[in-house]
Assembly symmetry: C2
Homo-oligomer: 173 residues x 2
């Protein structure tokens, strides 16, 4: 049995993902979490804090899925994610677009997510045989982000295409 703050952050992650941040009211978020608004505020402080917590929860959950050993596994994991979670575009890009400077903590989570994703891709590319440089890492990152976006309207086909493109770029000398 996990803690209430974690449950609230987890269910809020889903509500924000499906309806956007501004459009998700506290009452809706509290009801989705199965708690009263009073309890929600006691644990989360404010809506801004709750948004940051939801982004943290998504980041942790997403990188758990991305625990892979090679570039191809990255796209396999993304395909798996989209099949179980659906595709609505990068949660963090959407957050950055919707949230202004009034949400500095949330934006910090977005920045940290991006840094971590870039680092992960860089490591995976570095462990290919033979090792590759920064250009390939940037290209894999583009394919990953592109697959995430394209999947919103072309489904897993976009991820399949990205996966094949990544393989081509990795294996060509």
């Amino acid at each position: 049995m996990s803690s209430l703050p974690q449950e609230i952050a987890a269910s809020s992650e889903q509500v924000f993902d499906h309806h956007g941040f501004a459009a998700s009211g506290i009452d809706t978020l509290a009801h989705a979490a199965g708690v009263s608004t009073r309890t929600l505020y006691k644990h989360m402080g404010s809506k801004a804090d709750l948004i940051a917590a939801a982004l943290e929860a998504r980041s942790a959950r997403f990188f758990d899925q991305l625990a892979v050993t090679d570039v191809d596994g990255l796209f396999a994991a993304l395909e798996q994610w989209v099949q179980t979670e659906g595709a609505r575009g990068c949660f963090f890009l959407r957050a950055a677009g919707e949230l202004s400077d009034d949400f500095p903590e949330a934006l910090k989570v977005v920045t940290e997510y991006r840094r971590r994703l870039r680092t992960l891709v860089g490591e995976l590319v570095n462990h290919t045989d033979p090792p590759h440089d920064d250009l390939l890492a940037e290209q894999i990152l583009v394919l990953f982000e592109g697959a995430t976006s394209v999947a919103t309207y072309r489904g897993v086909e976009g991820i399949t295409a990205a996966r094949a493109a990544a393989a081509s770029l990795v294996h060509q000398s």
Copy 2:
């Protein structure tokens, strides 16, 4: 001298792009357009209609920039766009994420934009020498969307990488 509705849609496009749809109030939008709220409503009907009009304006403006003859030109045009407009992620993806079913007209514009972008990429890939198939078109689409996303935090470097990747994929048999 262009018409008031066009001016309102154009300036609203900028406000929505920089601050999000829900966070942009009617007063802000009217002030940015240099008109009163009364005039804004007379010409645009409602905020939902204004959002749809702003998306239409962006679509027209963006595809004007994408009047190119080959795949490489596509990424050159995107690089140019980002340098003059900045990068905040795909406007249409963000709209789809923020707007619910209460905005059917806006979502129709998003769908139409995506259909048109996919068609454009398909045509450009088909006119390569030698002509290529649907897989490459999907891959170029992924690179284009990925470059748009990655540019938000890695700048034009992401577009440069995507451009090189596209060239690799096009020229390899």
